[in-house]
Symmetry: C2
Subunit: 426 residues, 2 copies
């Protein structure tokens, strides 16, 4: 638009010069004023921030990374700038995925791969991120528009496709394999896949791709009544995959599209989805930047502000062939990995013993209490279901009844799979 | 801009008519084409969605409230549309306050009052909500711009002022008293105040105003190392006020401005702030729309995904005169309120007994477990501090040592107040 206005000014000037009668110049002067005013209006409009070559910790108002680099000084993260090396794929750019994408973009993630085939609707305006003027755009286009304005340093790749179709699934897998962003990376081309989809088939497609590629992923979900949600870490071969034990709420196959056709829709809230996106990306940051503890499973019951945790072992009789292959591989490498982890812990313990305490004086008498949270220890020690999980996983009492946790998990998952198949076949 | 362009077209037309020499018309025609093209460009730019008179539950893509009204059909909320009657004040439009404002706006809250005196900086871009092109605007102006685009149905009032100054505090209190939005409302003119500020004085100012007005408020905070946060419900006279027992992290008086001057700054993350904002607004919705349980205190330790809860009784020796007055009032009305609550529960129990069970058949064998979460029951049964709260509240071990919880709270808070005064006076 600025160019167009500039051209108009040149034309006006030429016209003024060509006029023989000076009395005709007055209206042209008025037009010129108009154009100049418009030019100023256009110039005052938003300019994008320029790219930043290196992340700086300098504390100035103009530094978009100062508050993140401060995590190093605070002793939380060892090397924050490593975030620029990482690629994260987000499948489903809805109420959770879009907010997760915005959080990672603002954190300065290296590369984001976005997958969705849906369009923005006004009916999505009760969740964060999309704006009413984006209604009608594809979610991927609208997301790229907003995210590149927020942080031009992030490499954005968008895929407008449905991963549950044969063609879509192939493109999805190929895009995950692409290593041109960081050729030296081991394994696939991405560091983590975040599943933020709202239906069973799409979750199964992500599960299939990640099992095939031996790709660690984080799954997320929000209940139909909008008041609870969860995140779950899935490491092929090491933890239960989505086919080992799908949560009932998803397995029943009720997704938004089916519901909408019948004139009803699932409820949703920006709060629940914002909390789930926050927990999802916080665990993503912990996983990538190696701080804190990544939760194997974390639920959110918003009516009671209750957050159940648990762990799920893989099912050796899982119907997913790739999952069973990954399990066999994991059993082979586990002894070596355990030994390495033990050695590392011993070295860490020794170096702690050699270092003097950080704070010798303790003016405020701050003391450290025993920091093993009782509720999560209980949940993780066995395969029993913690309170609050009855609605999302069936047969919770089955878990409680059976004697040995190890054997239980397997038998119970088998039984669960049979029940689900029976339900699906009716 | 559209008006300006229209005016130009009229001027051009007049000019063309006034020209005696038709050969002069050609350049004017070219100019006219320019203006028409510009008009089309401007028209193609985003249009705002129009206001909606009544909230509808109709499931169409163009209905921005369908997913919220679905909360009624799902049995979560009795009357969602009541949200349009409510006024919420948000003090501090930073990393937590801005996201809280966006969530409430997308939920269709009746009226939002926004308070801040700061300007948007690029250094804020690691949190959600503000965009780089808004750098330099006041946070209140930038927020009104974004929020009114998202949902024109919300009445927005913005106050660009510092509530810790004498003049700012007066305007703040007067604005909370104003009942023109809903003259029939009991008490003040707002239903809830959300404190989203980052320093001690501002929290004390909110505390003072709410104690004076007997105004219920929710306080929120995020730690300097960006990895933990909390929300807390404060009902004057009924729960501890901010002067009864201020958390140490705030009482030490380290705020962003002080830190920045010394060339360091607090760390912050969009994840932690997004989670805290989500928990804050979820509890706001539960409070306003009367569903679920509002948490008296909820912490978020993101390194371990641990969420401590507790309750704090008011301190009869609190230094805040208005707090002590509210406590006296509460003691007077408490017996009548308890009796009314008991009667209501008995009626509810009776009507439940008269109704047949909702689901007679139970194909999936879904059972309800005992739903009192052990960790929060422990925390609420006494005034001891739950695990995970050592960093934010000093002398946690003092709470554990003393014998009778009732007496303990008072002595300990008195002692705490003395310690804090000693620290502040040095």
């Amino acid at each position: 638009m600025e160019l167009e206005l500039k051209e108009m000014l040149t034309d006006l000037e030429a016209l003024k010069q060509s006029l023989s009668d000076p009395s005709h110049r007055a209206p042209l002067d008025k037009l010129q004023l108009h154009v100049e005013r418009l030019t100023n209006l256009v110039k005052a409009a938003p300019v994008r921030r320029s790219k930043v070559k290196d992340m700086s910790a300098e504390v100035v108002d103009s530094n978009p990374y100062s508050r993140l680099m401060a995590l190093q000084r605070m002793g939380i993260v060892e090397n924050y700038e490593r975030i620029r090396d990482f690629s994260v794929a987000i499948v489903g750019i809805g109420g959770v995925g879009s907010v997760a994408a915005e959080m990672l973009t603002r954190c300065g993630i290296g590369r984001l791969l976005l997958y969705d085939y849906d369009k923005v609707e006004l009916a999505n305006m009760n969740r964060l991120f999309f704006r009413p003027e984006q209604a009608g755009l594809t979610k991927t286009d609208a997301a790229v528009q907003t995210l590149s304005d927020i942080n031009p340093d992030v490499v954005l790749e968008s895929y407008t496709l449905n991963i549950t179709t044969v063609q879509g699934f192939e493109t999805f897998v190929e895009s995950l394999k692409n290593k041109s962003f960081r050729p030296s990376k081991q394994g696939s081309g991405v560091d983590l896949v975040l599943s933020c989809v709202d239906n069973y088939e799409a979750r199964m497609a992500v599960n299939q791709a990640c099992n095939e590629l031996s790709q660690t992923w984080l799954e997320s979900g929000v209940s139909e009544d909008a008041v609870s949600g969860h995140i779950q870490l899935l490491i092929p071969g090491e933890t239960a995959c989505f086919a080992c034990a799908p949560p009932l709420i998803v397995a029943s196959g009720i997704d938004e599209r089916t519901l909408k056709r019948e004139g009803v829709c699932a409820a949703s809230l920006p709060t629940t989805m914002g909390v789930v996106a926050g927990l999802l990306v916080q665990n993503t940051l912990k996983f990538l930047l190696n701080f804190g503890q990544v939760s194997p499973y974390l639920g959110y019951n918003s009516l009671k502000d209750y957050f159940p945790t648990m762990e799920m072992k893989p099912n050796p009789q899982c119907s997913n062939v790739a999952c069973v292959e990954r399990q066999k591989e994991y059993i082979l490498v586990k002894p070596a990995r355990d030994a390495a982890a033990k050695a590392k812990m011993e070295v860490a313990a020794q170096s702690t013993a050699e270092c003097p305490p950080l704070h010798v004086d303790n003016d405020w008498n701050i003391s450290v209490l025993d920091d093993s949270p009782l509720d999560s220890v209980d949940a993780r020690a066995s395969d029993t279901l913690p309170e609050g999980l009855t609605r999302e996983l069936p047969s919770a009492d089955e878990f409680l009844k059976l004697p040995t946790p190890e054997a239980t998990a397997v038998d119970d998952l088998e039984e669960l799979r049979r029940q689900l198949e029976a339900i699906n076949s009716t």
